[in-house]
């Protein structure tokens, strides 16, 4: 078995994928990519891959995928148009798309070469070797007013000084007193009576609120024990109490 020609090996190593190889083949064909023969290009590519295979060169999978696709394209291009199944992509369309791709890659390859050929800094033109440099010296001014300082100390002091909570003594009606009073009064209540009627007669509004709260709790407790019945139309409507009918 003869050694594969080294030149081909190197050439294959140099391609950056099947599109790259196709572009090189196309460029060899014509200067203007718009006039290349796609069919001829396909055949060149397939020859190339076949040759590599005969020489037992390792071909990357994407080259083989492209070869299979091009073989399909070739057969589609050669078949009479009428025999094609409806729904198949038009082979001319596929060929045109391939040509458009090649044109675009070619344009960018050309643009890259022209870019690299420009006068580049550090290769063709040089900046000053030892610039003095520009410096910006920052001076900070702090925006703090005297008030801010005092407010901050006030804040810290308020936060750290012990706080004493003193609860003022005030008149209340205890739950025990309310229980005794409501239980005593309900015994004579055959009809529904508003809970207000069970409260002691006091002038202090605070004590009256306390009495209402305690009497309400007393009423609930007595209802639980079955010693009173409660009735209310809806939320926040007057609450009525009476002696249980069977009691």
């Amino acid at each position: 078995m003869s050694e594969p020609p080294e030149q081909l090996t190197l050439a294959l190593d140099g391609w950056e994928g099947p599109l790259d190889l196709l572009l090189s083949l196309a460029r060899a064909q014509k200067v203007d990519l718009r006039e290349i023969s796609i069919l001829q290009l396909v055949e060149q590519y397939l020859d190339y891959v076949e040759q590599a295979r005969r020489l037992r060169l390792e071909l990357a999978a994407d080259y083989l995928v492209m070869a299979a696709w091009l073989a399909y394209l070739k057969s589609a291009l050669l078949l009479p148009r009428a025999t094609q199944e409806v729904g198949d992509t038009d082979p001319d369309e596929l060929a045109l798309r391939l040509q458009l791709r090649l044109e675009r890659l070619d344009a960018m390859r050309d643009a890259g070469a022209r870019l690299m050929a420009r006068d580049r800094v550090g290769r063709d033109v040089f900046r000053r070797g030892a610039p003095e440099g520009l410096q910006v010296v920052r001076r900070s001014f702090w925006d703090v007013e005297y008030y801010d300082l005092l407010a901050a100390y006030g804040r810290v002091s308020a936060r750290s000084r012990p706080v004493l909570h003193v609860v003022r003594e005030r008149e209340v009606m205890t739950l025990e007193a309310a229980l005794a009073r409501v239980a005593g009064l309900v015994g004579s209540a055959i009809d529904w009576r508003d809970i207000q009627a069970f409260l002691p007669d006091v002038t202090s509004a605070a004590l009256r609120r306390s009495a209402l709260a305690s009497s309400f709790l007393a009423a609930l407790e007595l209802a639980r024990q079955g010693r009173v019945e409660l009735h209310q139309e809806r939320s926040f409507a007057p609450l009525y109490l009476r002696r249980p009918a069977t009691g």
């Binding site: 675009r104 890659l105 960018m108 643009a111 890259g112 870019l115 063709d124 000053r128 610039p131």
Partner: protein, 189 residues
Amino acid sequence: MSDAFDRAVEAVVFASPEPLTVEAIRAHAGEGDVRGALARLVTRYRGRGIELVERGGRWHFQTAADLAHLLRRGRDEIRKLSRAGIETLAIIAYHEPVTRAEIEAIRGVQTARGTLDVLMEAGWVRPAGRREVPGRPLTFATTPEFLSHFGLNSRRDLPGIDDLRAAGLLDPVDLAFDQLAVENLGEED
């Protein structure tokens, strides 16, 4: 005196290790007609061994291009970019902002891990926001350093960009194909 101000602008640009914008020059040279001073300085240095140039809106002094052979001697060659690197840079420059997938669609191969890194490390390419499509892919664009390194005033100065655009070669294949199809339909009518 415009001459005193020209001197100030000249000194500031000369002393800076980086190309400077007009605003940066003004910050150091003080209030005055910076653009006017720059224009006068460009004229003054024209044909000398040193030139004042604008690159991507930033100004710097550099040696005249025809003297490259004298200055290159004894210097390390600047790092060579791989073929993949050159193509990728060209695609980004001519198409920006462009996603990695779009670069790969044009090149027909996956972008190797190091290719974009090298371009970003050189300071020529930067991430430029995400495209508002599903997956929100990152886009890439060139930097002012790119323009400055390759001696371009702006992207409009990219070699042949107007011709490429006019020929539709900067449009994606799908778009170019559709346009061709429309033209052919028109001819058949």
